[in-house]
Symmetry: D2
């Protein structure tokens, strides 16, 4: 084992960053699921100098070495030195990825993991290369809710969520793709599971990490406009609608600011109110227009179904109308199988088996079009 040298994170040239980030900062702030760093490094060991914070939802992180998950843990508040690996033949090149498991917590603006430096007795080599770039947009399914925890677990805990076991990570591995995620449990394309109209993903798409913005993470650029030309995805996969659908069965949401009441309604015969379903359809179309505007060449896939097919009709209607109106030829709707008693994870969400099945279907499709 040689002498450890401390490298300020921003001084490391051969550093691969994962996730939308503001490059203006002199640290690397992991503000959202899948945010991380990756290096190909020689030496017997590698340590990260980090600082973390949270109020109610503690951040979790994971370490992959040579492509396999070897560690997953909560990161407590405060500064600490985390070992990313040790005990390896110093002459070898070790590929290490350290990333955040927990989604950007819109409900806890203070949550973050900040990487300030790396310490090693080795050298940073050319960073790992990827064949594709994929952007995933979604809700709790993309946030991996239920991929950890017992089937009987019901509490909304940070540990139940992950990036490591989601179909996102699995598709990335199957396709050698660099993946980014924008997702938030409970949010929809039009409104959230509780009819909260503010909880829609399209409203956060144009900022670097708007879900984490509006608080201490603003200093890491969370709320800045995102430069779409900085990272052009080969495909964009949107998995939204599950929470919009839930709104039809949930009580109304009262806007605390205005007192106005919002609710997606069903007709007496159990079908969706036409106007309300239409709001979802319009939201999908508008979001697709915006996604396309910002990503002219990317293949777009609208995914849906892992927690039931009830919103099939408004979603396909929206996709079809968008294609009809736009002439866009590079977009498809793909339904994923609903989780069942054999594939549910915690909190009645898709478990790891459901994510494996979805990953297979998605990767199969992408291989035919990319």
């Amino acid at each position: 084992m040689g002498t450890l040298t401390y490298h300020r994170i921003k001084d490391i040239e051969n550093l691969k960053l994962h996730g939308r980030m503001d490059t203006g900062s002199d640290v690397v702030a992991l503000l959202s699921n899948g945010h991380g760093i990756e290096v190909n490094v020689t030496g017997s060991q590698l340590w990260a100098d980090i600082e973390a914070d949270y109020t109610s939802f503690e951040p979790w992180a994971a370490i992959e070495i040579n492509g396999e998950l070897i560690s997953r843990f909560m990161v407590d508040k405060g500064s600490r030195r985390i070992c990313l690996f040790r005990g390896i033949d110093p002459g070898k090149v070790t590929r290490v990825k350290f990333y955040r498991e927990l989604q950007a917590m819109n409900d806890d603006k203070s949550t973050n993991i900040v990487i300030k430096g790396l310490e090693t007795d080795g050298e940073f080599m050319t960073p790992p290369s990827y064949k594709y770039r994929l952007e995933f947009i979604g809700d709790s399914i993309n946030s991996g809710e239920g991929t950890y925890g017992a089937v009987t677990d019901e509490d909304w805990t940070a540990y139940c969520m992950s990036y490591s076991r989601t179909y996102i990570n699995l598709v990335g591995r199957a396709m050698n793709a660099e993946c980014r995620v924008i997702s938030q449990g409970g949010w929809g394309v039009f409104s959230g599971w509780d009819n909260n109209f503010r909880h829609n993903i399209p409203s956060v798409y144009d900022k670097i990490c708007a879900l984490a913005a509006g608080g201490p993470n603003d200093k890491y650029g969370a709320g800045k406009a995102y430069d779409f030309s900085s990272w052009v995805p080969d495909a964009i996969l949107i998995n939204l609608g599950t929470n919009d659908c839930a709104g039809f069965n949930q009580p109304p949401f009262t806007d605390p600011d205005t007192g106005e009441v919002y609710k997606l309604k069903k007709n007496e015969d159990g079908t969706f109110d036409k106007k309300d379903a239409g709001q979802i359809t319009d939201a999908v179309i508008n979001f697709l227009k915006n996604v396309r505007k910002n990503n002219p060449a990317s293949h777009i896939v609208w995914l849906y179904g892992m927690l039931g097919y009830e919103l099939n009709r408004p979603l396909t209607e929206a996709v079809n109308r968008y294609i009809e109106e736009s002439g866009d030829k590079n977009l498809i709707f793909i339904q994923l199988p609903s989780a069942n008693d054999g594939t549910y994870g915690a909190r009645r969400h898709p478990g790891i088996k459901a994510h494996e099945i979805a990953a297979g279907i998605i990767a199969d499709h992408l291989k035919t079009v990319l």
Copy 2:
């Protein structure tokens, strides 16, 4: 072993018939895939007195005992006695199903298996009961093309097709459902894979077994109008569109009678010609109207995707427009995963693994609605 007694098939009260049949005949003619007989019988053995015919596509049949496939074989021309089982403790009740594997062969009007009688030393007990009734409508996927044979097999042989290994049989087993099939390889909802506009399944839906009609099988009532009230399905599952889609990539079809030329066209940019896609959409809507008219209470599922998702848009458009226009609340579109290199069977068709996956998704869905 007791003495064998010959029972004319129509004299057996406790006989369960599978498939749409004309009860006017004094024999049981197996004219289509899934057509068969089933009994709960005591005795040490059971034989069937049958007669079969074909010109180019020989019929295949299968035997299930107590719910498990034990035999599958070609039935040659002529009369013969086929053993359905023997060597069983005579006091036991054995459940036996003898059914046709091969689809009704529209290209060989002479194909049939006719059961004239059964011979046993036992007694026919109350026939097996089923919890549900399911009707499946489709193309080569429903006809089980590729569920038998090597991955490298390319010839369109009778042995490559089955009922036994299709998702139909698997869903039936998983749900204790009596299943019927109307299917024909190469046919579509609007036109066939080769743009032959006559090869559409809706045109045969109202007759008992129109695919086998127009020849010697007419004497078994193949061409008679079907009485939809005689067997009310809990659900109807339609898997059509795959061949319509193929037509866009195939040469035109020239009607031999009129010389007129038919072809579904693509635009220069590879998208479907709007009018041609619209013809498929109209065909779907019209078919759904007819299916609903004849089955007012049945849950309807439109399945699609086991051989690619290219026709997603016209199909979902049709389903959505039909719902919109009709107000029908009991219908859903469900996409099935496309077969891949691990799940293809013979003739680049879904193999048994693909059918198992599809069966799981379909049964999961039906359990939530029935």
Copy 3:
């Protein structure tokens, strides 16, 4: 389709025979499981001219085309023409294997399937080649008892047995090996499940097909001495002991000829009587000596365990003592996992999943030594 030409079976040069057979006969008699013929043939169709017989246990047969099972059926008494395939592009070479599913029935000396000729419009090409030769020796597990039929099936029927679904066929497929089987349900290495000392496999090993001898099948050479130099196996896999073990828990067997009573006994504490266990051990050693004498270069594997591990000790003792005494270096004992509630087939015997697991373990081992 060209004109069919009849070829007497013995006139076909490019015919591959499977199983120990007397080449003196001018027909091919399928007297045991795995006995069969295989051809690479052009032409659109192939028919077999056969004759079959049985008294109590009807023979079953199977057809594999290009390596995949496509048909499996009972063969009734009498002469008939069986289609092995039809409807294939005549220019292609089709690989066809037609083989017996049912073991040689020691309880029914009349059981047989005799192939007299083949009829085709094609030509017989060089027969398929195999990389290895494997000989399997065993009991009902090797006879595939339970690989067909429902888990609840309890009768000892011919249909419950197979070659097609046994680990033998699966190992053969995995290793491109030509496989032969000598097996009989209920038999042991020393005595049968019912303590019948005559039901031991070593007593039939030196004859071509002694299990089928002593009756009409003698004319096909069943009882002739076997020429071990005619087919030298790369490995010999013996799976015996399960029935010997059963004898300890079964009533005594009384020799009908002499009135003598035979029984493997347990001590009061439930362990095996030392002398009786020693008889099994001796029988294993003597059998191994004989197998080795006749197969000097073959790798030998003693398999055991698919229906419990109770006889482990006497069997390993025998294998160890044989090695010790003989200096034989080319022999190993391999335990296979016992079937469980998820892998049992009919008649509480290993089902197809148990055979798949065993095949994997066996093929893995053979790949390391061959």
Copy 4:
């Protein structure tokens, strides 16, 4: 969230300890794989006050909540507070297990994790109950070497080892069994993989945790005699022999103290030298005698085979001779399938799939005897 109360670990009555431990200490020292604590606790959160140390091999730990792994991480030197869970509805009872992943490191006597207290806003309820007690004794396979890490990983790192993914943990989960492990990578029943005769597991069996003894961990009782009456296992599963076997193919070991040279030798024909194989056999017999002496009523299973079957004969010989000489009726040899290219993990050791297969076989067996 209520106020957190600090409980000294030894003051917690409702604490379940896992692993052999000296109860004299006023802390809980995790000195070996599987060592851990388990509680049923109410409250919204639970923290552990720990201290850890190592020189060359850092300890790893894991957290299971309600029976599912949710975290796995390296524990760095020094004191810290580790969160075992937080964010749970305080009224619920949460089952938490915190345990060591890394084996006792005979090569690093300083490695430990010491638990000094727990902090919670809840109450400790009756600890979890188990139906069975199982003791596992073994080598690197039991130490989970290869259950984490990429298939290409070759370095002997702490992260490659685990308790969480071993068959031990899986059998425990399948059978609701409390499991203990004594294991060390590279060690044998007679001598280690490198012919080091000191590296034999029997030499450490009678002490509490002799593998961790001889250094700072002595203060936690590592080197004290173990009281076998304190925890009577229903079954003891010994998986040893793999490293003894390796010695035959490795260079000699020279005792640094005496200069004497040790080597298990093969004959010129590749077989084991009789005297050397005999030493292994004797070592097995002596170990079995000692295990039985200390555990008169436990069912004993000798497991072997996950990394090849080469030592089958000396091992079965030993087991058989031990039974013969002792009259012990409560012992069996069970061979496990060798890992293959589909089931290897890191360092050419059995991966998680191989452990799952082994766990199934072991649990199946135990269910038949316990």
